[in-house]
Symmetry: C2
């Protein structure tokens, strides 16, 4: 496994791989890898001839009051994980290599980034799109792997790629969960042991809403109220950013289920103490 | 010479060219070609093994009150010009091929696009950057050719390309002029014969400012006042959008010449009757 830090070197290496006819699978990460990332790397390993993981905590996707500085980092541990999962290359550029002093160019996917997580994190998806497009231009992968846990991000990246004719296939990968159902996330590390136990309320509430719908409730405002009540009754939930029913592709809100409703994304972001967690589930047909 | 209308076909053809090791030179245009465009195509012809010209009047770079609808178009004439100048391919996509109904993604180069032409044309450079990046992703040229007449556009495209690590070399080409000095532009067609004669006031005023500077005037506010006076005295000048002294790379304003001043861009946009014209000259060292 090779570690690459300079953009120039990354460009030459990926250029050479393409010339050799390799199929490049790319897994962009912010490091502090967990089973979710590993599953992306393994999928890339199964589908591509060369697997490249980027490790880069992207400053421009964090708000001024967010956790950029305290975001967990452990490069040595990440290297071991990558090697075990079968990565061929790690791209690990320093911040100043990715953003020179006078950096000015940003990608905006209108509307899709304004609601849900975008409401609490203005500019977040702009930062994500910008860094992802930079990586795509540097690495020129055949396929890039993204997890469904960050569902809004996945939809926005797919839209950007399509709108800008970026020649990269976006692969969607399922959310990986702990045994009790909590979606695996690098930010779970912030949770105290009590908080960790109670964080399961997020997936439980999503599943509770799903059940209400499957059992015939068509009015999603009622489902939302019930789900919020359930979450609100857990003393570890310090704030609820949103609990939304959305179209799977366009992310527009769904308020009522009718005969045309085919799929519903139920997505939520809550705070357990000082840690913000997100999760979602997708309902198909079953109502 | 081959004419390509579908993005899908363009992608396959340029993919094939790259596999064959061809060096692709790309000249993006809005059609209604003139000697300025021809000079770009000829330069591409001299430097590359395959030359591709795009002809696309890009709706998203026009403001709602601008001349998108009346912008001159003549595809047959353009084809003849391209053929004579040595183009191998014309990419001529319909609008709905480039922008599907639900198009949402835009590129912003901050600050650089706000002043000068950006002040009178908000969103213009965002539209330019977005379409250029789309073309770059579809065609993946080795070199793209831009004229210095649209100097602010050139600087913004260069900045976007650098910031986003786009693997395309941007070639700067000199402004082509009529015998009396008027910079050649598709919009010159809008001018009546009297307006056409008087449009030369633009380059004359730029040269007048240059002379004042060469003759020792260090205070650029004084130079500006004199130049504005000269332009204002021409009854065909219906409006002056700006007459600016700018840094050649960063486009920041220069107000005084001192020992550190190396190059000055003098740029202006004025209206002759109902037609907006831009031009610029670059002063190097000579002061």
């Amino acid at each position: 496994m090779e570690i690459i830090k300079k953009i120039k070197d990354m460009v030459s290496i990926s250029e050479l791989l393409r010339l050799k006819g390799e199929k490049i699978g790319f897994v962009p990460t912010m490091g502090y890898l967990h089973k979710g990332h590993i599953s992306l790397i393994e999928r890339a390993r199964a589908e591509c001839s060369k697997v490249l993981v980027s490790i880069f905590v992207n400053p421009i996707q964090f708000g001024p009051k967010e956790d950029f500085v305290r975001y967990p980092r452990n490069f040595k541990r990440d290297c071991n994980f990558c090697q075990k999962a079968g990565a061929d290359y790690i791209f690990f550029p320093p911040t100043e290599e990715m953003y020179e002093k006078d950096f000015k160019t940003f990608i905006d996917v209108q509307n899709l980034g304004d609601e849900m997580c975008g409401r609490a994190r203005p500019g977040h998806f702009r930062g994500v799109c910008t860094v992802v497009l930079k990586f795509f231009n540097i690495i020129k992968p055949d396929v890039a792997y993204f997890g469904q846990k960050d569902y809004q991000q996945l939809i926005i990246i797919k839209k950007m790629t399509k709108d800008l004719n970026v020649p990269v296939k976006i692969a969607e990968c399922p959310t990986i969960r702990e045994e009790d159902g909590l979606a695996i996330s690098s930010r779970n590390k912030y949770l105290s042991s009590d908080e960790r136990k109670n964080a399961v309320i997020l997936i439980q509430s999503l599943k509770f809403a799903e059940e209400l719908i499957i059992n015939g409730q068509k009015d999603l405002e009622i489902v939302r109220k019930e789900a919020l009540k359930k979450m609100g009754s857990n003393p570890f939930v310090s704030k609820i950013d949103y609990f939304d029913f959305r179209d799977k592709e366009m992310l527009c809100e769904i308020t009522k289920i009718d005969q045309n409703t085919e799929r519903i994304l139920i997505a939520s972001a809550i705070w357990i103490g000082k840690t913000r967690l997100i999760d979602n589930i997708l309902l198909e047909n079953n109502f």
